[in-house]
Amino acid sequence: MTTGTGPGTDAATAGYLLRLGDDALIAGHRMAEVVTRAPQLEEDVALANIALDLLGQARPLLTRAGELEGEGRDEDTLAYLRDEPEFRNCLLVELPNTDFAHTIARHLLFSCYARELYAALAASTDDVLAGVAGKAVKELDYHRDHAAQWTVRLGDGTEESAARMAAALDAAWPHVDEMFTADPVISAAAASGAGVDPAGLRPAWDSAVDAVLAEAGLHRPDLPPQAGPGGRGGRHGLHTQSFGFLLAEMQHVHRSHPGAAW
């Protein structure tokens, strides 16, 4: 289904890729923030690795989104020159690194989702997306294992670590539902075969997360989904309060040198 405005363009798939690309870009940014601040050197290496994988997913997704959009925007234009309301990532990935448990909780919940998503997207009708997905699913296997192992260590570690891990899950949990909620763009992409309906990924996610929580001796938080104003959230460009500060940091140099090459 080509819904774009010019030859070779496809607005629905472009919007879908923007959602995927923004999820990876922002998840990667948060992960990269921890590098040089990790609890041990091995984790500086591991978190840098995860950040690199996510950035490596974001770049072709954004590039492809720009191509299908057909307005001449490349990966850097999309990352550096959009305003906050134009970012389409889900809110989960932008939650701050309050402590290491928050970093792990966020990435556990996200990677369990993204892993299932990319497994399904390997069959996307968009060749570029299918290619990215095929590679990403292996990377996300590793991310998921990494987050799961730390969730277990922290949940089954000391009293303090278990309390911190539980608090971190509480902070992230209200943002889970958004990942599985299709908006019209996602539905259109799913209908065309370029994307998938995320609701179908929920059972696999539930059992993956439940297994990790059980091994960690942690409970599934009993918290309702976070309601955005008028039901709007990250997919509509309405973000949490820390996101503007993230963007200010990320975009400042690029925006300070209009038109420059790097």
Partner: protein, 322 residues
């Protein structure tokens, strides 16, 4: 009657023979206490330099001006963490452990390279560090690939390979800036101006005042003098800076056909000493950043230990219950 090669010599003789025969000393080999102590000090300082060295560049990860540069920069900082890991492992073969060495670093009782006490106020500093600081590091480190202590030499082989890649990336960053907008070009020149002299200081004090060099040379840990290495580095960058289309901030820099080398100006050793003593622009901040990361992570490392102990207990209980 000659015993060479057949009768068991004393350990000291064996060690000396291995050194002079350019053989590698391995962890299980006997070695003199001061050889061991010198290596521990040097490898630890080198490891600390890698992890402190993550900060000046890590400072720019979240602000890198393009996604491609951001990816390259994250990979570079990750490599530095990896180098730290190799080097702490190499030090551990000498009977110390990483936690101990980190404590010495955090308490200011072991050093790291003073170069990392300079700030990185602009994006161009990432380029200048790659080109000049990694360049100087490679010049220093290539001879260490033939160092007499096996684990250290092998770590250096891996490290040097990655660092020459980093140096090329730094050069490329500056190259793009130097050909960019006037503001980008000014940024590049300013960064080179700030990093040039400190990079020359990375080779250590002049030979006339170098404390540890004699023994290190004899033990084949070190193979060239500080001044020789510094000259080698100047000869390289004095050529490369032309390809960049930038200049080095040294009015005395000039080719000396007679010596077959570049002459260069006098290094300000007073600044070197001040920064070494702790009065550099970022000394406090670098150590504070490390201490904070280590302290903030204490509960995580503690949790990992507690979990491992519980796992072991559970395994033992399962074993006993069979």
């Amino acid at each position: 009657m000659t015993l060479t090669g057949t009768a068991p010599a004393g350990p000291r003789q064996r060690f000396d023979a291995m050194i002079s025969g350019e053989e590698r000393i391995e962890p299980r080999d006997w070695m003199p206490d001061d050889y061991r102590a010198t290596l521990i000090r040097q490898i630890a300082q080198h490891a600390h330099s890698e992890i402190i060295g993550m900060q000046p560049e890590g400072n720019w990860i979240t602000r890198a001006p393009s996604l491609k540069r951001k990816a390259v920069l994250i990979a570079k900082v990750q490599d530095e963490a990896g180098h730290g890991l190799y080097l702490y492992s190499a030090a551990e073969t000498l009977g110390v452990d990483r936690a101990e060495l980190l404590d010495l670093l955090h308490e200011g009782r072991q050093r790291y390279s003073s170069i990392f006490n300079y700030p990185t106020p602009t994006w161009a500093d990432v380029g200048a560090i790659g080109w000049l600081v990694d360049g100087a590091a490679i010049t220093n480190q290539v001879p260490l690939c033939r160092c007499s202590y096996g684990p250290y030499a092998r770590a250096m082989v891996r490290i040097c390979k990655e660092e020459s890649f980093h140096q090329r990336q730094g050069f490329e960053i500056l190259h793009v800036l130097a050909r960019g907008t006037p503001r980008q070009r000014a940024m590049a020149q300013d960064a080179v101006d700030r990093w040039y002299w400190p990079s020359l200081m990375m080779f250590g004090p002049p030979d006339s005042e170098s404390a540890h060099s004699g023994k290190s040379m004899a033990w084949r840990i070190k193979r060239y003098s500080n001044d020789d290495l510094r000259q080698r580095f100047v000869d390289i960058i004095a050529e490369q800076v032309r390809a960049l289309g930038l200049t080095l901030p040294d009015p005395d820099l000039a080719w000396n056909a007679e010596r077959g080398h570049y002459d260069f100006g006098a290094v300000d050793w007073a600044e070197f000493t001040a920064v070494l003593k702790g009065d550099g622009p970022c000394n406090r901040q670098r150590i504070e950043h490390r201490r904070a990361a280590h302290a903030d992570g204490a509960w995580v490392r503690e949790a990992a230990r507690a979990h491992a102990a519980k796992q072991a207990d559970r395994a033992a209980a399962r074993e006993a219950a069979r």
